[in-house]
């Protein structure tokens, strides 16, 4: 077998290329090794780019090809070794993987929490409300804002169904909803008092010697330090008699007339809210009939009118008496009157009386 001069012959008289005996196997290994040695020698002596090139290039001898079975065996051995290595790597890094997984989960949870916390009050709540209201699922009214929205939505639905009394009504509802006039009046009063330096800022309306109606913005302690102030971009002078037709004064909204107008708008808003709540009942509650709707809305209308007329009367009296009220006192006055009238309403159960009266009158 190791004699190069003699050709190899299988001891079992088989083909040495395919025989499985040990002798043939060793012969094949021997041939492969000899070929590899020849390749190494050829590489060793090949042209190295010197001044004397070799005249005949040396060809790289071909390696004897492995049989299919050997290649498969070698491949499976490699795969097995690779899997063993991978498994060892996984086992070695088990703790690191666990820490990474925990960190990832914590990040995902935090991301979800952040989204909920940031967006809940803005988008999600609004979307949910819109979703419910679009599908006419029963909507709970918790706040004044909810009531106004619900009223507008019902009117919008009526408009789509062609049952509305007109788009003007809808626009009016939206306009009133967007201006909570009592709040606007309070904000105006607060801005004026803040700009002029304190809660003691007063507004006095009076008739001058020529019979013209004028207004003076002053303060209880009448300090001399500040004579000018900027409120909402308007320059106003303290202790200066303005005619009531002055555009600056009108924009300030501190005239008694503006206050009464604010009360009127507040009364209209109360009506809208009442209509919204009662319409909601009428739509969703089977035991609530049209006579109930008229009774409740009529009672609220009557109450709003009572508050409005009483407040307007008291404010007019202060102007007539020449009393300079602190402007925030106007808001206190309105709240006092509203609360008092509401207590009277509940004490006498006027709302129930109106509803019962209507039911008796209509025999329903």
């Amino acid at each position: 077998m190791f004699d190069k001069q003699r050709s190899y012959c299988c001891p079992f008289w088989k083909d040495p290329e395919t025989c499985n005996c040990a002798s043939c196997y060793n012969q094949r290994e021997w041939d492969r090794s000899s070929a590899a040695l020849n390749v190494a020698e050829a590489n060793n002596f090949r042209s190295s780019g010197t001044a004397i090139p070799s005249m005949q290039p040396m060809l790289e001898p071909e390696l004897p090809k492995m049989t299919m079975k050997e290649r498969l065996e070698a491949q499976s051995r490699q795969n097995l070794a690779q899997r063993e290595n991978n498994w060892k790597y996984v086992q070695a890094n088990k703790e690191r993987y666990a820490a990474q997984r925990a960190d990832q989960l914590a990040r995902q949870a935090q991301a979800a929490y952040n989204l909920t916390e940031k967006e809940w009050n803005k988008d999600l709540k609004e979307d949910l409300k819109a979703y419910l209201e679009k599908r006419h699922t029963q909507v709970c009214i918790f706040t004044v804002d909810d009531a106004a929205k619900c009223a507008i939505n019902i009117w919008q639905q009526k408009n789509i169904d062609g049952e509305t009394i007109g788009t003007e009504t809808l626009k009016l509802l939206e306009e009133i909803h967007s201006k909570f006039d009592i709040g606007v009046g309070l904000v105006a009063a607060t801005k004026v008092t803040k700009a002029l330096g304190g809660l003691g800022v007063t507004v006095k309306q009076y008739l001058d010697a020529k019979g013209k109606e004028k207004i003076i913005i002053s303060s209880l302690w009448n300090d001399k330090k500040m004579h000018y102030a900027v409120v909402n971009g308007l320059n106003i002078k303290k202790n200066h008699p303005y005619p009531i037709s002055n555009p600056t004064v009108k924009q300030l909204g501190v005239l008694a007339k503006d206050t009464v107008n604010g009360f009127k708008k507040g009364a209209v808003l109360s009506m809208i809210i009442s209509a919204g709540i009662n319409t909601n009942e009428l739509v969703f509650n089977d035991d609530y009939h049209l006579v109930d709707w008229f009774g409740h809305v009529g009672s609220d209308f009557f109450k709003a009118m009572t508050v409005l007329s009483t407040s307007a009367y008291v404010v007019s009296l202060t102007v007539g008496l020449g009393i300079a009220l602190p402007i925030l006192a106007g808001v206190v006055l309105w709240v006092g009157v509203d609360w008092a009238i509401n207590e009277i309403w509940e004490s006498f159960k006027i709302e129930d009386a109106i509803v019962e009266g209507l039911k008796n009158a209509t025999n329903s």
Binding site: S316, L317, L321, G336, D338, W339, A340
Partner: protein, 142 residues
């Protein structure tokens, strides 16, 4: 037409101011009286009693103003009187109201609880500037 409507509104306002507001003042003081006497089995307690000083002030404007309206055509008041009604009384009334609301209501609730009343329910107010009503009841069987 608007002038007639305004006159009607102001006349109705005058009527309610002269009849309704004194009654509202009575109701607000009645709350304090009920808690003091403990005569009823069910007592409703809210902050309404605390606005009684403000109602006093509004009533003082109504009484003085209506009197001037009916008996003097120019509705003239002396300067100290105007200052009192316009400045001093409202400041004192608001301060008193706040003090009553902050200090007196907890005392009244405590007085009810020590006398055998228990908070049964709280009725939510219909507007943000009004107050919730706490309903206290007494169990007479004990």
């Amino acid at each position: 037409m608007p002038q007639i409507a305004n006159k009607l509104i102001y006349s109705y306002g005058a009527l309610v101011s002269l009849i309704g507001l004194p009654f509202a003042l009575y109701l607000s003081l009645e709350d304090i009286f009920n808690v003091y006497k403990l005569s009823s089995k069910t007592i409703e307690l809210s902050y309404f009693f605390a606005i009684s000083p403000i109602l006093f002030w509004i009533l003082s404007i109504v009484i003085v103003g209506t009197y001037s309206l009916f008996f003097n055509t120019r509705m003239k008041l002396s300067r100290p009187m105007r200052k009192a009604i316009g400045i001093y009384i409202p400041i004192i009334a608001v301060s008193l109201s706040l003090a009553m609301g902050i200090f007196l209501k907890p005392l009244m609730a405590e007085h009810l609880v020590t006398n055998g009343y228990a908070l049964e329910k709280t009725i939510s107010a219909s507007a943000p500037w009004r107050s919730d009503i706490d309903v206290y009841t007494r169990d007479d069987q004990k």
